[in-house]
Symmetry: C2
Subunit: 575 residues, 2 copies
Amino acid sequence: MSKKIVIVGAVAAGPKAACRLKRLRPDWEVTMVDQDSLISYGGCGIPYYVSGDVSDESELRATSFHVVRDATFFEHSKGVRVLTQTKALAIDRQAKTVRVENLETGAQQDLPYDKLMLATGSRPFDLPIPGADLDGVFTIANLHKAIEIKQRIAQGKVSRAVVIGGGAIGIEMAEALTDLWGIETSLLELAPQLLPRIVDWHFAAMLKKHLQEKGVAVYARESATELLNDGQGKVCGVKTGQRTLEADLVIMAVGVRPRSELAKAAGLDVAPWGGIKVNQRLQTSDPDIYAAGDCIAVTSLITGRETYAPLGSLANREGRVVGDNLAGYPTVFNGVCGSFIMKAFERCIAATGLTVEAARAEGFDADYALTAPADRAHFFPDQAVVILQLVFERKNRRVLGLQAFGMMNDSISARVDTAAALIAKGATIEDFGMVEMAYAPPFSSAIDSINAAAYVAENLCDNRLRQIELGRFLAWMDNMASEPDWAVLDLRHPVEAAPYVERYGAERWIAMEYGQVRTRHGELPAGKTFILLCNAGPRSYEVQVFLDHLGKSASMVLCGGLNVISRLDVDWLLK
Amino acid sequence: MSKKIVIVGAVAAGPKAACRLKRLRPDWEVTMVDQDSLISYGGCGIPYYVSGDVSDESELRATSFHVVRDATFFEHSKGVRVLTQTKALAIDRQAKTVRVENLETGAQQDLPYDKLMLATGSRPFDLPIPGADLDGVFTIANLHKAIEIKQRIAQGKVSRAVVIGGGAIGIEMAEALTDLWGIETSLLELAPQLLPRIVDWHFAAMLKKHLQEKGVAVYARESATELLNDGQGKVCGVKTGQRTLEADLVIMAVGVRPRSELAKAAGLDVAPWGGIKVNQRLQTSDPDIYAAGDCIAVTSLITGRETYAPLGSLANREGRVVGDNLAGYPTVFNGVCGSFIMKAFERCIAATGLTVEAARAEGFDADYALTAPADRAHFFPDQAVVILQLVFERKNRRVLGLQAFGMMNDSISARVDTAAALIAKGATIEDFGMVEMAYAPPFSSAIDSINAAAYVAENLCDNRLRQIELGRFLAWMDNMASEPDWAVLDLRHPVEAAPYVERYGAERWIAMEYGQVRTRHGELPAGKTFILLCNAGPRSYEVQVFLDHLGKSASMVLCGGLNVISRLDVDWLLK
């Protein structure tokens, strides 16, 4: 028997559910409503539209066969009715109707439903600061805003921009403005680091350094306190606690919040922070109402706790699950690892699962293996260093997360995606050590970087490898007097080590090449704690094991070595 | 208490085990013997050395910090004694000694061991044909052969080459010769396809077409019967059943066989095909003797049966497991998926698990989902089509394998590696549908290609999608009279369909654009079985569902559509 399905929201989860449902139940009546005129677009593509990589906004709304996904497309190709510029005002759960208003005509009507889906998405958080409503101040709320930003740029109206918010969208927008339009761009982030909660501080520091090299002025621990008016209602600058930045364009990208007012008003369970609560079948507290996408609370596959993951990819997967369940085919959505990836100029940064910081905050006995191998066979021409960090629980050896920073290509995808697949299955360090990465020199190493990271983690868990935390090392470099007995033992080629020895003195910076330690260890001064240093870490570990064997166990390995240190936005290398 | 460990073979598994063991047991005496003078090299890099991508052979034997891994390196840096040019002649399991001979001096000695490891590797199969011993005929047996090949080329002695064997090494060598040296190269493969048993025929056909476009003459179903002598002991041509090819260089790359004579002579269990039998701890039938690398039989994680997987990456992982077990830390090696990847000019081809053909031969109720999506967001500038095929069991929905063919970048690594991680855990189609691939437009699609392939598999299993096997479609295209009631229903843009309609006639090739089917389906002729065709497949599936709903259920989807067909090495497009 045909049923009536109403879907509120037609960007990602909504259309996916609608189309899947129509394929499963071709005779059901499916109606989508959306308050916008532009629907079913790839919101994650907005920075690439602004940059010019994507030349026309309609490409973000087109199928792979170049047909624009508008109301007519859904009607003709999918058999789904779409009411655009139509706002859902209220749900009457008793009568099972949704009151909607046509925003052009003001006409209202009640849409009856057998089952309802909420795919109301998210809205950007508006900073409550003076000047937030000035002309030239934008959030990346929808495609209209993106079109307006690009028009201003294309008309030559923008020469200086400030992006507020160092999350993915903020960074992508900063790149778009700087790289392709040559706009002088500053990026402000209130937190002490970019991508807070997504990557650990040292990954953020590597990213920051690269952004700065590419001409973006990055200010962390700095928030906008006021947007300045040029006297004619247009923004002309941004005031922070520390400085005033000139700007004819300001982009606020300080995160998004679930749009869940409709759900809340209807009496559905909504988390205090706004996420609509759903079960594994993505049913809300009313079994006739489903929800998916940026408006819902999901479950972390790592902590088992409620989390927020507003991503277009998840919205699509969730939408399909809702489509199945609406059609009467029970399907579950278990939760998320929280995979993240982004291009930043010539680099790629990615993560899945928990950071060390987040894991420790969640109460995990977390540690990390920081490595710096080649991203493919080290003899292959295109190879480059990738920084890879495995986060794990020491006690039960479960892997909690992976982070990576490297060149802009897909090699990091391979490691992060594999990691997410394993983490979702509760994999241990040993699973990571054994995972079979397809090998040929143009793609990977005989010992893949993900296997190698697991080996380091294993050695840490087994207390064979003792590392010094990166932050502690940097603090010591800042004030060597704090630990008077420490010295770096630099295992690299003497030519590489020489400038450091000269700079820090042979007391503090001892050069002894890796291949000579077995014969020359007698020369090492007594009473020192050695910080073992090489380019990537493996040589340091090898030497630590050897020194331990001699009974000289006062050593710590700087995991990741110079490859990590030299990529950080810290200035000790130049002191 | 210190123990004596002897390792026979010092290329991949041997050195890995030796170094790991020395880190775990620094006071143990570890001795490696190898009959060669060059050890610890990346054999998979040989084609890139021959091509010139890797300029010097020593790079294949160097660490990432540019130190050559010779006997001195192992002695000084690792504390491992290495006897090069030393052949292991026999094992006395009672006395626990290995008799070895120094190939330079002829001196023999018995090396005592507490535990022994065999890492004797593989040898290339020599074709038993006349002329196989002529000058200019090579196998890729070791680095010396590679050096000699490259010298000949660099000296301008090679203008025409024949590579016998269409496996990975043969194809990589054909590319090296053609691409960088401009040598006129032919490639012979006895089987009906390239990469037999590694990919299904249609993937091999796509690869063949690309090789031919790049100037390699590929002859499948054709074997060398004789190598021709120029009268002075040098090869000058290759005779096959069908033709004679001129050649001043012949490379035989017809597979490798385990080197297990030493094991067999010592009475260890060896499979009839030559693989040394080991348990999960990689112990041979003598608990004091371990084995790893190209000389052993491993277990397929998919079939649970014995298989052969001579890969440098596996050799390293196995070597580490042996190192652990030798040291007394029980560690297991469960088995392999058989992941494979290779660069072929501007394309990448990869696979993990079983092909459809292999799966059916193994008795699985196997089917396949063939898809042709974009390898990243379809609106992103660099995007390109990737052909992705999921192989699965219909009954229990377990995934058995994945194959991919696309552009030469790392995006296929990401999908194949993720697939291998899942397959090793016994994952189902639903796991593939849910796997969380990190999404941003430069890297992936909101619905990742691997998720999309799983959706197609799901629809096949649920009998919602009925496909026509590719081979059956091509057979019909060859002889349309064989199925007089069949017609293609071309759902692409009329401009795309027009030349086909003209060529095959409006009876056989009906053009009706996807977006018009819901309004124009009444025009479709009765009594026909429609082969639904679009670029990638999704539109065809959508239309099949719709036609089914109308009761017109005589239709079959050509999965992968024109994107697959146009990449095949078949000529029907031009008829």
